[in-house]
Amino acid sequence: MPEKKRIVVGGWFDLPRLGTDVFGTLVRKQGVAYDKSTGFKFDSGTDLQAAVRTLLSAGVEVELILRCWICGKESCPGCPYLSSCDRTSVSTFCLCADHAPEKSVFEAYTKTFDVNLKG
């Protein structure tokens, strides 16, 4: 059985050649970002459920990984909700194991939003 392709949401990744139909569906219809030099990217504008389905039908099984909103690290490994979290349907950022248990995590969470907003 082929290994699942780990795709970090918000990060660039490459794909094998899947044909123009699959490429067109992913990029034009399902909102997958594409750049010739960096590859593909899933972000908040991507229809993740549809894109994962398209890749599966093209023979690429995908494991989505969310990133921590506060530090950008991968947040899924070791998450207690891993088995019950449908990462194709939740929003695209989460909290990593370092930040989630912190007492002041909500303060850091809101602060990150303000910092990003100010650019």
Partner: protein, 405 residues
């Protein structure tokens, strides 16, 4: 309700959809006439409406909130949106036009509405934000070329847990990991629901415990079966099931609960607590009706179960129907009403007021004054009430009884 107490007040206080919230904030701050509208797409309960409300407030903008399901035709849209689109305040302040549920524009009655919105986006002097639940509807496809589309999704469980911890911290509670996780999982990404579940677990009796969560069937019971099932339920789960089975409008539901509580003969402190909850439920309905916030309806049963059920539990409160006063009391009520009407006519003529004002505003004070001996005779004579001595005496007894309580 904690979900109202901890409702986000600033754009950074929402949970989840970080990129979409950032993009919408940036879109609004850089908006100028001719810019595309923003279209928020996502399932209910993901914070679209809340975020638009908070964002408008944070930017000092007046929010013009329209529900496209209510304003479905081009003419109605033109009437409601026309002025808002072209108006800027004297000081240059803009309004934010929010058109909710645009996927509700469907069918023959909506001919021209989508085209009108597209045209409005091009010409509006104020930013337009739209929201829809179904990204695949034909209307959304037609509108998407005039809009920046932003997806809203349920936040991941860990972020919901973070917010619940924040609520628990605000309430000074030490909530166990397992309890917290159960609330997060049961809420399935709905932060408000998660907060309500947390509140329900904290208000629950040890026996009721986490059984307050569950699924509800059997919606066809009669009013009496359902209400008696609620009052006599063994636990919160059963109480909620019974209440969900009550096929009455929200207003009627609260009215029947109120009636049952009033007739229950609960001791005064418990009666006060019970009526406080009924009052909160009434306020919830009032807000829902006034602001058209129908989504609040889902919290009505939960509010009654969490607030009222622990008070009435095991107290033999019963739903006894509408005309269940004993006949002698009913006769007394009819007789008193008749006499009060007669007295109010006499009083109204002397006091130059209407019979209705006399009954509702003046007579309670007059009767109260009549209970003092030094005023009684003069007042009775002056107002021509001396012929109604028995009525005054019965009111006297009532006042004495109230004073003793």
């Amino acid at each position: 309700m904690w979900s109202e107490k901890y409702r986000p007040k600033k754009p950074d206080q929402l949970v989840g959809n970080e990129e979409s919230r950032l993009m919408l904030s940036l879109w609004l701050s850089s908006w100028k006439p001719g810019t595309k509208a923003a279209l928020l797409v996502g399932p209910p309960g993901t914070g679209k409406t809340t975020f638009v409300n908070v964002l408008a407030r944070a930017n000092g903008m007046n929010l013009v909130d329209l529900n496209a399901s209510d304003v479905r035709t081009k003419d109605k849209l033109q009437r409601r949106m026309g002025e808002a689109m072209s108006t800027i305040s004297l000081f240059g302040e803009r309004s934010l036009i929010f058109l909710d549920e645009v996927d509700g524009l469907a069918g023959r009655a909506d001919i021209g509405a989508v085209e009108f919105i597209k045209e409005s986006v091009r010409e509006s002097q104020n930013p337009i934000v739209m929201a829809a639940n179904d990204p695949d509807s034909d209307e959304i496809k037609k509108l998407s070329s005039s809009c920046v589309t932003l997806r809203f999704r349920p936040p991941p469980p860990r972020e919901v847990e973070m917010y619940l911890r924040e609520v628990a911290r605000g309430e000074g509670l030490a909530v166990g990991e397992e309890e917290l996780r159960a609330c997060v999982l049961d809420a399935a990404g709905d932060v408000r629901q998660a907060i309500n579940l947390l509140q329900s677990t904290q208000n629950a009796t040890p026996e009721g415990g986490n059984d307050a969560r569950g699924h509800y069937k059997d919606r066809d019971r009669t009013v009496s079966e359902a209400l008696n099932g609620f009052f006599g339920a063994a636990d919160k789960h059963e109480a909620l099931t019974a209440l969900k089975a009550l096929s009455l409008s929200p207003f009627e539901k609260v009215r029947e609960v109120h009636r049952s509580v009033l007739k229950s003969g609960l001791p005064a402190p418990e009666m006060a607590k019970a009526l406080e909850v009924v009052s909160s439920a009434d306020l919830l309905i009032g807000r829902m009706m006034k602001a058209g916030e129908w989504r609040l309806l889902r919290y009505l049963d939960r509010l009654l179960v969490d607030g009222l059920y622990p008070v009435v539990r095991g107290k033999a409160v019963k739903y006894t129907g509408q005309d269940d006063l004993p006949f002698p009391i009913l006769v007394r009520v009819w007789n008193d009403s008749k006499k009060i009407r007669e007295v109010s006519v006499k009083y109204a003529a002397r006091a130059h007021t209407s019979g209705m004002s006399a009954r509702s505003q003046d007579l309670p004070y007059v009767f109260a004054l009549c209970s003092k001996k030094k005023f009684r005779e003069d007042l009775e004579r002056a107002l021509g009430l001396d012929a109604d001595r028995d009525l005054l005496e019965s009111y006297d007894k009532f006042l004495q009884k109230e004073a003793a309580r």
